[in-house]
C-alpha cells in the first residue's frame, strides 16, 4: 500500500482517539465552543510560524500553534473564573482570527500552506507530522487517564469539587490545555475550521446515544473514525477533500440523531 495512505489510515485512528477523549470531556464540561476557540488561536500560531518561515526564520508550526492555543486556554480559564466564559472565548476567538489573517496576508506564497491548515489534508502528512500526532496522542491519553476522575467531578459538580478542596481553577486550566494539545494534534490533518465537527459532533452524538461513560467514549471514537475513513475513501474516488467530507458526515449524523431524540 502507498505509504501516504497507510500513514493517513493510522493517523485517522490516532486523531479519532483524540477526538473521542478530548471531545467527550469538552462536552461533559459544557465547553464545546472551546474547541473552536483553541483551533482558531492555534491557526494564528501557525500563520505566525509560516510568516517567520517565509522571511527565513526557522519556526515549527506545531510549537507555535501549541503556544497560541495554550495562551488561549489560559485566557478562557481566567474568563471562566469570572463567569463570562462566552465573551472571553468569543473575543479571544476573533482576536486570533484577526492575527491569523494579518500574518497570512504578510506571507508570500502563503495561500496553499495556509489552506492546508484551514481545511486539513490527512493525505499530506509528512513523517514528522505523523510522529507529532503519535507522540502527542500518547501524551494526551496518559494525562487524561491520570486526571480523569477530577475532570469528571468538576464537570458534574463544580461547587462540590471546590468544597472538597479540589483546585477547580487549576484543573479547569489543565483540562483546557489538554484539549488544546489534542486540537493542535489534529490541526494539520483535519484543519482548523473542520476540527470542531470531528471533535464535537461525534461526542455530542455519543452523549445522546450512550448510556454509560465508556459507551460515550467508544461511540464517539467509532463515529469519528468512520467519518474520517469515509472521507478518505470518498476523496480517493472523487478527488474531493477528505476532511470536508468527514466533517460533513460527522455533523449530519449529529443532526440526524438529535432530530430523532
Amino acid at each position: 500500500m502507498d505509504e501516504l495512505i497507510l500513514r493517513a489510515l493510522i493517523a485517522s485512528l490516532l486523531i479519532s482517539l483524540n477526538a473521542s477523549v478530548a471531545g467527550t470531556l469538552t462536552v461533559f464540561r459544557r465547553a464545546s465552543f472551546l474547541v473552536a476557540g483553541s483551533a482558531h488561536s492555534a491557526l494564528a500560531g501557525v500563520a505566525l510560524a509560516l510568516f517567520l518561515n517565509s522571511i527565513g526564520i526557522d519556526a515549527h508550526y506545531f510549537l507555535f500553534a501549541l503556544i497560541a492555543a495554550l495562551f488561549f486556554a489560559f485566557l478562557s480559564a481566567k474568563a471562566a473564573r469570572r463567569g463570562d466564559v462566552n465573551v472571553g472565548i468569543a473575543t479571544a476567538f476573533s482576536l486570533s482570527m484577526a492575527l491569523a489573517a494579518i500574518f497570512i496576508s504578510l506571507t508570500r506564497n502563503s495561500a496553499s500552506n495556509a489552506w492546508q491548515f484551514l481545511f486539513g489534508d490527512i493525505l499530506l502528512l509528512t513523517v514528522d507530522d505523523f510522529a507529532i500526532v503519535t507522540i502527542s496522542t500518547v501524551f494526551v491519553l496518559l494525562a487524561v487517564s491520570f486526571f480523569y476522575h477530577k475532570f469528571l467531578f468538576i464537570s458534574f459538580d463544580p461547587s462540590g469539587a471546590e468544597a472538597m478542596c479540589l483546585n477547580v481553577y487549576l484543573y479547569d486550566f489543565l483540562l483546557i490545555a489538554l484539549i488544546s494539545v489534542s486540537v493542535v494534534t489534529a490541526l494539520k490533518a483535519v484543519g482548523a475550521i473542520l476540527v470542531f465537527s470531528i471533535f464535537i459532533a461525534p461526542s455530542s452524538t455519543a452523549r445522546i446515544l450512550g448510556r454509560s461513560l465508556s459507551s460515550v467514549f467508544v461511540i464517539s471514537f467509532i463515529l469519528a473514525l468512520s467519518s474520517l475513513y469515509l472521507g478518505l475513501v470518498t476523496s480517493f474516488f472523487f478527488s474531493i477533500p477528505s476532511g470536508a467530507v468527514a466533517a460533513a458526515i460527522a455533523s449530519l449524523v449529529y443532526f440526524a440523531i438529535s432530530w430523532k431524540k
Binding site: F28, H149, L152, F153, S155, F156, C165, L166, L213
Partner: protein
C-alpha cells in the same frame, strides 16, 4: 469546642455587603435550620463555613479551625450537599458513580460496602446502577445526600435539600438528618420551607443579610421577626404538639 462559629463576620462579593456582622455559635450535635428569602445570603453562609470564601471581616471557625485558612484540616469531616442547580447532567453517571466520584477524584479508595450502606440509608440501594440524570428531583437529592454521608462526616451542610422533592422523599431526608443529629452529628440545613423539619430541629436562624433572630422555633417565629426577614407578615399556626408553623409554601425561584 463549637462545631461552627461565626465571629463578627461580614462578607461582600463586590461592593455591596451581602452578610453583615454575623455572630453565631453552633454546638456539636446541634440540628439547625437557616431560613430566609431569596438572596438573603444563606448559600453564602454555607460557602463561608466550607472555607470557599474569605470573610471581609471577622472569622469563621469550623471544629476550631479557621475555615478559610485551614480548610484542608476539616474538609474530611464535613459533608456538603450543594444546591441542585449547581449540578450538571452532561456525563451519564450512575448513582453509585455519583456517590463515589468525590473520593475517586481525591485519589481515595472506597469500599463497595460503604457505598451500599450510604445508599441504603436513603433507600436507594436497589437501583444503584440507574443513571443519575434519569432520576426524579427527589431521588437525585437523596443520592447527593448519600454522597455527603459516605465519609461519615461530623458536620453536614445542606443547601435546600427539599428543593423539588415530594413529601415522601422529604420525610425520608428528614428522618436521615434526625438520625444523624441523634448520633451527635452537627446538621445545618438551608431551607425555604421550615415545616418538614420543624419538629426535629434544635434551633432556627432567620437570615436576611444579617441574623434577624436565632433560637427555638417558637421564639423566632414572631410577627415582628418574620416581617423583618421577609418584609411581609406570614400567618403562623401552633400545632397540637405546641410548635409554631409559619403557613407558607415559599418555593425556590
Amino acid at each position: 469546642m463549637k462545631a461552627i462559629e461565626f465571629q463578627d463576620v461580614s462578607f461582600s462579593y463586590n461592593s455591596e455587603e451581602v452578610l453583615s456582622d454575623l455572630n453565631l455559635e453552633i454546638g456539636r450535635g446541634e440540628f439547625v435550620a437557616i431560613l430566609g428569602p431569596n438572596g438573603a445570603g444563606k448559600s453564602t453562609m454555607l460557602k463561608l463555613t466550607l472555607g470557599l470564601l474569605r470573610p471581609k471581616k471577622g472569622t469563621v471557625k469550623v471544629l476550631g479551625f479557621n475555615a478559610y485558612e485551614e480548610r484542608d484540616k476539616f474538609v474530611d469531616k464535613v459533608g456538603y450537599l450543594p444546591q441542585r442547580e449547581d449540578i450538571h447532567l452532561e456525563a451519564p453517571l450512575t448513582i453509585s458513580q455519583v456517590v463515589k466520584l468525590p473520593m475517586l477524584a481525591r485519589g481515595k479508595k472506597i469500599g463497595e460496602e460503604n457505598v451500599r450502606k450510604a445508599l441504603k440509608i436513603v433507600g436507594l440501594e436497589n437501583i444503584s446502577d440507574k443513571l443519575f440524570s434519569e432520576l426524579s428531583g427527589g431521588q437525585q437529592q437523596k443520592v447527593l445526600l448519600a454522597r455527603a454521608l459516605l465519609s461519615d462526616p461530623e458536620i453536614l451542610l445542606l443547601d435546600e435539600p427539599f428543593n423539588g422533592v415530594d413529601v415522601i422523599s422529604q420525610e425520608k431526608i428528614v428522618e436521615v438528618l434526625a438520625e444523624m443529629s441523634s448520633r451527635g452529628k452537627t446538621v445545618v440545613a438551608v431551607v425555604h420551607n421550615i415545616n418538614p423539619l420543624l419538629h426535629n430541629i434544635d434551633r432556627v436562624v432567620l437570615l436576611n443579610r444579617r441574623i434577624v433572630a436565632a433560637g427555638k422555633p417558637n421564639e423566632v417565629f414572631s410577627e415582628e421577626n418574620i416581617v423583618k426577614a421577609y418584609g411581609t407578615s406570614i400567618p403562623v399556626v401552633v400545632c397540637e404538639e405546641g410548635y409554631t408553623h409559619p403557613l407558607y409554601g415559599d418555593y425556590h425561584g
